[in-house]
Structures are given as C-alpha cells and as structure tokens.
Amino acid sequence: MDKTVADLATAVAGIEDGMTVMIGGFGGAGSPIELIHALIDRFLATGHPTGLTIINNNAGNGHVGLAALIEAGMVKKLVCSFPRSADPVVFTDLYLAGKIELELVPQGTLAERIRAGGAGIPAFYTPTSYGTDLARGKPVAEFDGRPYVQERWLKADVALVKAETADTQGNLTYRAAARNFNPLMCMAAAETVVQARRVVPAGGIEPEVVITPGIFVQKVVEVADPQQEEDLNRANAVYPGVA
C-alpha cells in the first residue's frame, strides 16, 4: 500500500463543486498553504471547484492561503470560531456585502464537533454557549443540575492537512503547535489529503510517536519546504499574484 500521490494537482483533484472541505491550521500554524494554492490553480484553470463550504478556525489573513481561496470566489460558506485577523479584509468585505455565509462556532465546540464527526458521535452536550446568542435554536438539557447545549457533529467530504512527517501508509506526525485542528480533521473527512514536509517508507516513523494513524489518511504528497502564512504576509504576498 502506498498513499503517496505524484503532485499537488493530483492531491486536490477529488474536490468538487459544493463540497465541504476542512482545512487544518490555526492562523498560519499548520495551514496547508500549498494544497490550498493548488486548489486555487485548478479553479483558475477550469472554473472548478466553487461553492465550497470551508471549515477552519479562522477566515484567512492577508491574500494567501485560505484568504486567497475566499478572494478567488470559491467559498460559499465558512464555519469558524474567529474570522478576524491582522489583515482580514478579504473575508470582511465579502461578509459585510452579504456575499459569504458565516457559521460562528465557539472554538472548543468547533474542535469537539469535528472530533465527534470523526468518532461517529452524531451529537453531544456542552456547557459552552449556554444562555448566549450562539445557543439559539439548539436543544438544551440538564445533567446533574447543570444546563448543557446540544451540538451536532461536523463531517467533511475532504480535509486538507499539513503534517511534518508522513509515511507511505499515511501515519503522521506534526510540528509544535501546527498540530491544532489537523488530527481531528483527518478523522472527520471522507477523504483526507495530507501535505508533509517529509515522506518516509512504512516503518520510518516510530509507532510510539505516530499522532494520526494512517487509517484516517487517504492521500499524501510531499512538500519539502512549505511556505508559512506569516512569512508570506510579512512579505505582502498575494496569491496567485500578477502573472
């Protein structure tokens, strides 16, 4: 078994119009910039995919990565906890113009909804958001004298994930706080596509240090020297930039 694919274009080939796509990362840490840019390249060449629902903690920053995906007009709806950033103009303008939908989810609830989706738990109860605007319309139940809000699982057609090391069977490790939502999203998508700084043969990662077991991963592509959103933004980068 070998889950590696030849290039980024092949890695994102399965994403179709209207799909729900989870994108890993918290701000720039763990954001799979090259996979996102490959998806934008495909859209610019073919007009597809479009009408995407994107699940990420944020709404992008500057004009690269997720912000560039939104700026390209490929995103219909965003599910996130914190759509503000140092340079949030891309999302903000579209949102205030009513051209993109937003489902705002508390960060821990977002993480748990994704985890639940991957773990086969259709709903769960959390104290988070009880009595607030974000709990409106959601069932409430009392357990041991305390009120809790029912939240539903989140699943996706595809997850785009950034890892540090992958083996050919899809076992993954991450780097520092670039882990964040990535392992959860691997579990919650029908197809998980991983860009890894290093791809090694099976056996190249000690089983003791595997964070995401390969069962949750379908495609792996090596991106040896990945770009960092923060570095790109400090250089005022714009994707795809001027041809």
């Binding site: 720039g28 840490a29 705002l104 609830t109 993480a111 748990e112 104290p127 988070t128 605007d133 959860l184």
Partner: protein
C-alpha cells in the same frame, strides 16, 4: 476621582492570587500581562487554546517560529516541561475542569456573574474564539478590567446589555479601582483604593456593592 490603577497594576494584582503550580489560561491582549507579574517563588503553567502547555515569553524579533504561537497568534517560546496537543485535547483541558484559573477581559460584568466580552452588537464581523468555552471550564473565572468604560460608564452592572459570553460564570473582578467577588448573585467588595470612599466607588458601579467583611486597601506597587 483621578486615582486609578494602570493595566499593568491590575494585572499585577490578579497575578498575586495565582498559586504555585496553577494551570492558567490568559485571554488574548490585556490579560496576557498577568504572566509578567507572577510572585517570586511561584510558577504557574500557562495553557494556550491552540495546543501548548507551559509556554513562555515572546522570542526576540527575527527568531520567531511561526509554528510556535499562542491563541493571539503571537510567537512564543517553550519552557522546560512543555507539551503539545491537538485542539480536542486542549478543550478537554478547558471544558473538563482541569484549568485552575482563566483570566479574561470584559465589556460588561453583571452581579449575577454573567460576562459579556465577545461582541459589541450586530455591527461588523462577529468572532468568539475560545472565550465561551473558557468561562465554563476553568475552576475559577476572573475578569480584569477598567472599572468604567472609556466614556466613564459603569462596566459592572445589574445585568449585561451586550451579547453574553457566559451565564453566571465570573467569580472575581479585578478593576482599576477595586477587587470585587461575585457571591450569591451580588457584588461583594473585598478591596478598594484607599483614596476612594465607598460612596465614590458605588457612584461608578452599576449595581449595589455589598460589604461582608472589612474592606482592605487595594495596594499595588508602582509598575
């Protein structure tokens, strides 16, 4: 009423109540200052929602590692004994009651413990982050804030008027004028600046201040 604590002094006062070995989450912005004022001999372990326990100060400019950031997306460093974890584990620490203290900023705090700190109303782009999780997770939820708004209106109220972050969640408020506990749906005054009379403090507070025991002077070093 000229005298009031600076933000650094409010943060210093809040830091004095954090015990050695406490696991602590500090909100983005002003609350992050609390980390600078840990009393000598005490070491708190700081948690950040995006998956680090026991992170330290910012690195020197130019030495940032952008995979090593805090919830405010600022570069941080690691201390000996730090750990990385994914977001579901991070919020298990929060929601599961494993954090000893969360210290947050506030737009408004009510005498029933309600907190409003995420939205100033329907204008603009709403953003909540981890605040709604934190207020229901930590064993102790404290607020640090100026006592009044920029235009002098009380921030401590009978009921919040802005969208709530959490219901009945705050137990102590450190303000620029006083330290106030929330007990049984009431503000209970513990400490106030010595230059301020109770009446003067009450006049800038939007709900009744109760006095259950002798009120101590709020004494903070020059910072």
């Amino acid at each position: 009423m000229a005298a009031k604590l600076t933000n650094n002094q409010i943060a210093w006062r809040a830091a004095q109540d954090i015990h050695d070995g406490a696991y602590v989450n500090l909100g983005i912005g002003f609350p992050e200052k609390v980390a600078q004022y840990q009393p000598p001999g005490r070491e708190a372990i700081f948690h950040t929602e995006n998956g680090i326990l026991n992170f330290g100060e910012a690195p020197p400019s130019g030495e940032e590692d952008w995979d090593l950031i805090n919830a405010g997306k600022r570069a941080v460093t690691l201390k000996p004994g730090s750990a990385f974890f994914h977001h579901a584990d991070s919020f298990a620490m929060v929601r599961g009651g494993h954090l000893d203290v969360a210290i947050l900023g506030a737009y408004e705090v009510a005498e029933n413990g309600d907190l409003a700190n995420w939205s100033t109303g329907p204008k603009g782009v709403p953003a909540v982050g981890g605040a709604m999780d934190l207020v229901h997770g930590a064993k102790r939820v404290a607020v640090i804030t100026d006592h009044v708004t920029k235009d002098g209106k009380p921030k401590l109220l009978q009921r919040c008027s802005l969208p709530l972050t959490g219901v009945g969640c705050v137990t102590r408020v450190y303000t620029s004028l006083a330290v106030i506990d929330i007990e049984g749906g009431r503000f209970v005054l513990r400490e106030k600046l010595a230059v301020l009379s109770l009446d003067e403090l009450q006049a800038v507070t939007g709900a009744e201040l109760h006095v259950a025991s002798p009120v101590a002077d709020l004494i903070v070093p020059e910072l």
